[in-house]
Each structure stands twice: as C-alpha cells, then as structure tokens.
C-alpha cells in the first residue's frame, strides 16, 4: 500500500493506462506545459510528449468534439475540463454526439472517451464556478457517470473508465484533490456500476457520492453520539446506478437520507429516492429526505455559501428527523 492524494491516484491511473495503451492520450486546457490547473496531469507531458499530452486553447466544444471524433477513429482520449462548469459550452458535443453516435449508427462506432475534471462547489467561486453537473449528465442514456471521493476509488475507477468502450463522465472535486488514502501497489480495477459501503450500520441508510461523502461520514459520526447507527453508501457510479446496494441497505434500515452536492430539483438525488420508494416501498418507515444545496444560485459571500452547501450539522438534523429522534 502507498498513501496517495486523490490527484496523485488519478495521475497514476492515467499514467498506467497511457503506458499500457499508446492510443490513450490526454487533452485539455493547461494539462501539459502548466502541468494541469490542479496538477492532476503533472509530469505527464515530460514523460509522454506533446503528441499524447495535448494542450488546447479555450475551446471546450472544439476539443470535446475532437475527442469524440478521435475516439470514433480508434483513439482513447481522456478529455480534461478545467472544471465541469466549462463543460457547459461543450454540452451539445456530449449530449448529441458522444451519447448518441453509437446507437444512431446502429453500432458501427464505439466511443471510448473519458471526460473528467473537478465538479461542484469549491470555496467562494460564486454561481458560475460552483455547479454540480452530474445530474445533467445522468439525465440521458448513452454515457456512464462516475463520481469519486477517495484515492483508492479514484485510481481504480479511472482505470476502468479509460478501458471502457463507452463515453464516461468522471467527476472529481477541487477541494478533495489533496485528500489522502491508501492505494494498493499492485494493479487493480474497480468495476463501474458498483457502490461501496463507506461505513456499515444498521439504523439509517445515508446515500452519497463525490463531495457529499466526507459530509455524510462526518454526519454519521455525529449521529453515532445520538445512538443513531448510519450506513453510508457511496454510489461511486451514478449511471448505471447500483440499485441492489441501495435497496439491500434500505431493506435493512428502513430509512434513507441522501447527502450530496447539487440542486434539489430532479437529478440523481431525486432518481435514487424514486427508485427506493418504488422498489422498497414496503420497507420504508419514514419519508426519504435529501440534504443538498438550497435551490439557489451559489452566492459568493462565504457565510451564505456555507448555508447553501450541505454540512454535517445540517445532515445530522435530517438524519435525526428520519429516525424520529428527539433530543
């Protein structure tokens, strides 16, 4: 085992996959000469050269589309968005090309491409730079969606994403790049589509992903002081969803809370609650609750931002409510 930061684990995954398959290349803004805006790709230009670590101008629709075209023609691009906020200008390429072309062409093309980058609120970047995009990308078929919260998951899932023959959206977190954790020295892959129990428990199921994971774990820690035993499930893959992992837990605990970075209207949080109420209705002892952003544009002011972003304390309140706990 080696202790790595998430950014190092991601880098190791890219490095290993580039070494393994010379069709794998990295493309995006500042990925090469600058060593990555958040240093995920540090050192890769020096190691693999400009053909395989491609700095682009600020042209997200352009380079996302170039990645898609290159993937159709046999390459395996890893496209970095400096942050997923900027993927908004490339949305058409992902929605109408990446997600559609295989089925449109009746299977003539495969699109082994990964779009990756940091997602959701960091700190005081205001509304245009604080958005959680996974729900947009989970909203249509033809792509897989992954969101990671530990170095172990980051490396194992990114390697799987790069080897996957479908377009994959891969969500990271700017504020979590320095989070450390153990990563095996030998090669490993984590299958796409499998959730992970980050904390086993019997009382309440807390479902989370990405930047929500540390919040959920901290809330579970607080809840334990009240004698509330939370099981924290990290979805890791948001599309396809691991229904079985979620349902098995809810059948056991009879209560579910979702904790995540993102807006409340629709999206992955709503989808998961819908599946639980449909597929485990008879097991529920309380309404499913969600702890996420307020339904507002992210304000810049720190005090307001802290109120909008889910905190362990806010999650604790909701966990108590779902457990019918009275102080």
């Amino acid at each position: 085992m080696t202790v790595l930061q998430i950014r190092e684990a991601l880098r190791a995954a890219i490095d290993e996959e580039m070494a393994r398959d010379d069709r794998v290349f990295v493309m995006g803004e500042e990925v090469g000469h600058y060593d990555g805006a958040y240093k995920v790709t540090e050192g890769l230009l020096a190691k693999y050269g400009e053909q395989r670590v491609v700095d682009t101008p600020i042209a997200e629709a352009g380079f996302a589309g170039v990645g898609i075209g290159a993937a159709m023609a046999g390459l395996r691009p890893i496209v970095e968005f400096m942050t997923f906020n900027f993927s908004a200008v490339a949305f058409d390429q992902i929605l109408n090309n990446a997600a559609k072309l295989r089925q449109l062409s009746n299977g003539q093309f495969t699109l082994p491409i990964v779009f990756r980058g940091p997602n959701a609120a960091a700190h005081m970047l205001s509304s245009t730079h604080s958005q959680a995009f996974e729900s947009f990308y989970c909203g249509f078929p033809g792509v897989k969606v992954i969101s990671v919260a530990t170095p172990y998951d980051a490396k194992g899932l990114l390697k799987s994403a790069i080897r996957d023959d479908n377009p994959v959206l891969f969500f990271e977190s700017e504020v979590m790049y320095s989070v450390k954790g153990e990563v095996p020295d030998e090669e490993y892959l984590i299958p796409i589509g499998k959730a992970d129990i980050k904390r086993p428990g019997e009382g309440i199921t807390v479902i989370t992903w990405g930047q929500g994971v540390p919040v959920a774990l901290a809330a579970a820690e607080l809840a334990a002081r009240d004698g509330l035993d939370c099981e924290v499930i990290d979805l890791r893959t948001l599309r396809p969803l691991d229904d079985e992992a979620v349902l098995a837990s809810v059948r056991k605990t009879n209560r579910a809370v979702l904790v995540y970075h993102g807006w409340p209207y629709g999206g992955t949080g709503a989808e998961v609650s819908d599946r639980i109420q449909r597929l485990a209705f008879d097991h529920l002892d309380a309404p499913i609750e969600r702890v996420c952003y307020d339904d507002v544009n992210m304000p810049y002011a720190e005090n307001l931002e802290q109120l909008v972003i889910p905190s362990p304390e806010r999650a604790l309140e909701v966990i108590r409510k779902v457990a019918y706990y009275r102080i």
Binding site: H33, P57, I58, A59, M124, S127, H129, V296, E302, L307
Partner: protein
C-alpha cells in the same frame, strides 16, 4: 469616495494637456493601488475565491471610461475591477464585494469575477470565457433597435478568441452592423498558455474582414494614444453603426490569478513589459514634461493610499449579507416579496 465619471466628449485629445494627464494618472494609480490592496487582503486570507488582477492593463480601462457617454456600456471578463474603478464605482463597495459583504457592489452575490454597476455603465464581469461576447452583441442589437445612440464596448482576453461564443457573437455583430467595439486585451497569456500555442496566427485582427469589421491594433504604452485610437472605433460604431475589432497588446504584471505564480514567464520578459508600463510613462510625463514635483506625486499617491485604506476599512467593518439574502434575486417576484430590498 471616488470622483464622478467624467463625461468628456469623444474627440481625441491632442498633446498631453496637464489636467487630462493628471486625471488619467490619478485613475490609473487608483486602479493599481486598489488591486494591490486587494492582493494584500487576499494574501492575509481576508478574501478568498479567485482574484484576477488588472495591474499593467489600467490604461485601457481609464482611456475607455474617458470616452464613454451616458448610456454606453462596458462588458468585460472576470478581470473587472479596473473597469469598475475607472467608471466611477465606489472603491469601498468594490472592496466590500471582494470581502463578500452586504455593502458590496452586488451585495456579496458575485465576488471579484462578477462586478456589475449598470448606473456607471459596467454591464458586467463575466467568468465563462467568451460567454459575454454575444451578450454584448445583444446590447448593441438593442441600441440599434431602439435608436438610442449608445455604443457597447466588449472586452475580452486573447484567450477568448478561440471559443465558439466569441465567433458567433462577432459574426452576428458584423452581419447586422451593430454599434459595438470588440476590444481584445491581448496580455500575451491565457493562464499559462502563450499566444503562439493558442492560435495559428500572430495577429488576431486578421479575423476582422471575415466579420466585415474594421480593425486596429497597437501596443498599449500610452494612455493618450490608446484613448485617441479607441475614440475612432467608438465614433464609427456610434455614427455609422460599424463594428470593429481591436487588438491591444498589453501585459498583466501578476499571475493569471492570485493562485498562479506565473512560472511560465521569464523575469526578463516581465521586466521588459514593465518598462512600457503606461502608468509609469504617465508619471514620467508629469514629472519631466510638466514639471510636477516629486512631493506632489507623493501627495497624490498618499491620497489614493488613504482612499484604499478607507475602502479596506469599509469592507472589513461592513456586515455580512443576511442569511435570507441567498434566496433573493432569482426572480423578479423575489424582490417584490422582499419589499424591493432583494
């Protein structure tokens, strides 16, 4: 706290009239000292988020502000403090915005990257590269539609020249002959990427004919020259509804933002550009051509220093936005419900 916007007519000024020079120097220095105060507060951990400084490019905002008539608009990027100060926004309100305070220019909603001051003609600091270009075209569309005689000035970095929204916005402005001036502030780098790795051409104005725009291109060394040449483009937009594309060769003396150490540039290169610093040039002109004394220059700097201290003091002592503020402002109805104080 700040002097009011000077509504000078849009005719080029010949020679370096002392009063004008003094005014330009004062404004450029105010921007620089504002940015330095912001950088200090950032380094002290008092403000956070992204902070993109305008140091080195001040002459552009100052020349522009001097040419604007009531109703004209500036639309710019996240590197927007310079325009706010030049256009007469209160430096206390600007600083309070960086601090995320209730008294900030936009009430703590936007921060450094999103200054808006409609009254002063600042129609926004935008942070998605290129996203503001079609919006600026839209302002000009409205001006032509309404016949209001206003000109929209759209500022963008050279890095924004390569994204789709910019092309589409400029294309429509040319197609429909709208009263807009697109000004590329080519400070040589988009974050760490030098121009030669951004585009296949050296001269960005080569695109102008494709949009049926006129163009101009110069090194920003002198605030008077910059003012005079911008004036021509503005006049063309106002009188003939002829849009233009201007490339200003300039330099940011600091990193892209506070988190960028700027290691991709040599000290030599930075020093060479600093020699062309229009602020410094204006100071030399004041001293050498007009005999303004060191004491007078120091006194001016001191006055500006006091203004910036007061701005910081104002920001620090201002209250935070109240918690309910986060729910306001999204819809017109929100503000009505909040009794207009959204």
């Amino acid at each position: 706290m700040s002097p009011p916007n000077d509504p000078t007519p849009a005719a080029p000024v010949a020679g370096h009239d002392l009063e004008r020079l003094r005014h330009f120097y004062n404004q450029m220095l105010r921007i620089r000292r504002f940015e330095e105060a912001a950088a200090r507060a950032y380094t002290q951990g008092k403000i956070s988020g992204f902070l993109h400084l305008y140091i080195g490019q001040e002459a552009i905002a100052v020349a522009t502000a001097d040419l604007m008539r009531p109703g004209d608009r500036v639309v710019t990027t996240y590197r927007d403090h310079g325009f706010a100060v030049a256009l007469g926004c209160d430096t206390g309100a600007c600083m309070a915005e960086l601090y995320g305070k209730k008294t900030g220019l936009v009430g703590g909603n936007g921060g450094s990257m999103h200054f808006f001051a409609k009254e002063q003609g600042l129609w926004g600091g935008y942070a998605i590269v290129g996203g503001h270009v079609p919006v600026a075209t839209g302002h000009a569309f409205a001006s032509k539609y309404l016949g209001d005689g206003a000109v929209t000035l759209c500022f963008l970095g050279e890095g924004a020249m390569h994204i789709g929204a910019t092309h589409e916005g400029m294309h429509l402005a040319g197609l429909w002959r709208l009263p807009v001036v697109f000004v590329i502030e080519n400070n040589q780098y988009a974050m760490g990427t030098p121009l030669r790795r951004q585009t296949a051409v050296d001269d960005l104005t080569v695109r102008a004919p494709a949009y049926r725009m006129t163009s101009d291109r110069w090194v920003v060394r002198d605030v008077f020259e910059t003012r005079a040449r911008l004036a021509r483009a503005i006049e063309q937009a106002r009188e003939e509804s002829q849009p233009s594309l201007i490339e200003l060769l300039t330099y940011r003396f600091r990193g892209h933002s506070m988190s960028d150490p700027g290691k991709y540039r040599s000290k030599d290169e930075v020093d060479q550009w600093k020699e062309r610093d229009p602020l410094h040039r204006a100071q030399v002109q004041l001293r050498d051509e007009h005999g303004v004394s060191e004491e007078e220059l120091d006194a001016l700097d001191e006055r500006i220093g006091e203004e910036m201290d007061a701005a910081v003091e104002f920001a620090e002592s201002s209250p935070l936005p109240d918690p309910e503020h986060r729910f306001r402002g999204h819809y017109v109805e929100d503000d009505l419900a909040a009794g207009g104080e959204g």
